[in-house]
């Protein structure tokens, strides 16, 4: 039932780009994730520094899960077959 929590746990240490609902996009190394999909990113870099100069001196950050719109992930870090299988099992036919 917390399938995506386990999914993100496999991505700890990988570089992701978190795009927030306010359009701020932050690239960083995934440090940790919790059941709410809150995330902590290390060594962050804002994608559009001109539009969002607020985090120039910030190295690490905590992101509330509810503020996230997308997370861009390197395809090579994802096992799609495993993901699809896990999804099918999550929603197995109960009839």
């Amino acid at each position: 039932m917390s399938m995506f929590y386990y999914f993100f746990k496999t991505l700890v240490g990988k570089e992701v780009v978190v795009e927030l609902k306010n359009n701020l996009a932050i690239r960083g190394k995934l440090h940790s994730v919790d059941q709410y999909l809150n995330m902590k990113l290390d060594e962050i870099d804002v994608e559009d520094k001109v539009q969002h100069p607020h985090l120039l001196s910030v190295k690490n950050c905590f992101i509330r899960g509810s503020t996230i719109r997308y997370v861009q992930i390197p395809p090579k870090d994802v096992n799609v077959d495993l993901l699809q299988d896990a999804t099918r099992h999550e929603h197995a036919d109960k009839s």
């Binding site: 995506f4 719109r69 997308y70 997370v71 861009q72 395809p75 994802v78 699809q84 999804t87």
Partner: protein, 89 residues
Amino acid sequence: MEEPLDLIRLSIDERVYVKCRGGRELRGKLHAYDQHLNMVLGEAEETVTTHELDEETDEEIVKKATRTIRMLFVRGDIVVLVSPPLRTT
């Protein structure tokens, strides 16, 4: 009995069309989803549609911007609609 989520299950490993809040649309291969409609899409195209009003002519300008993201997690609370791809674009 098939619930709405069971219908999405049929689209795993298929391309889907996802309408999102904020005038955003996604098309991509559905790899995973949950009951919140959190999803992982592969080879996703996002199209953002904006409406601007020209001050002088008062006409509505429709702009579309598209980008491709090779592997994308989508948070479910922005999802409005999920369906097999429409054939218009």
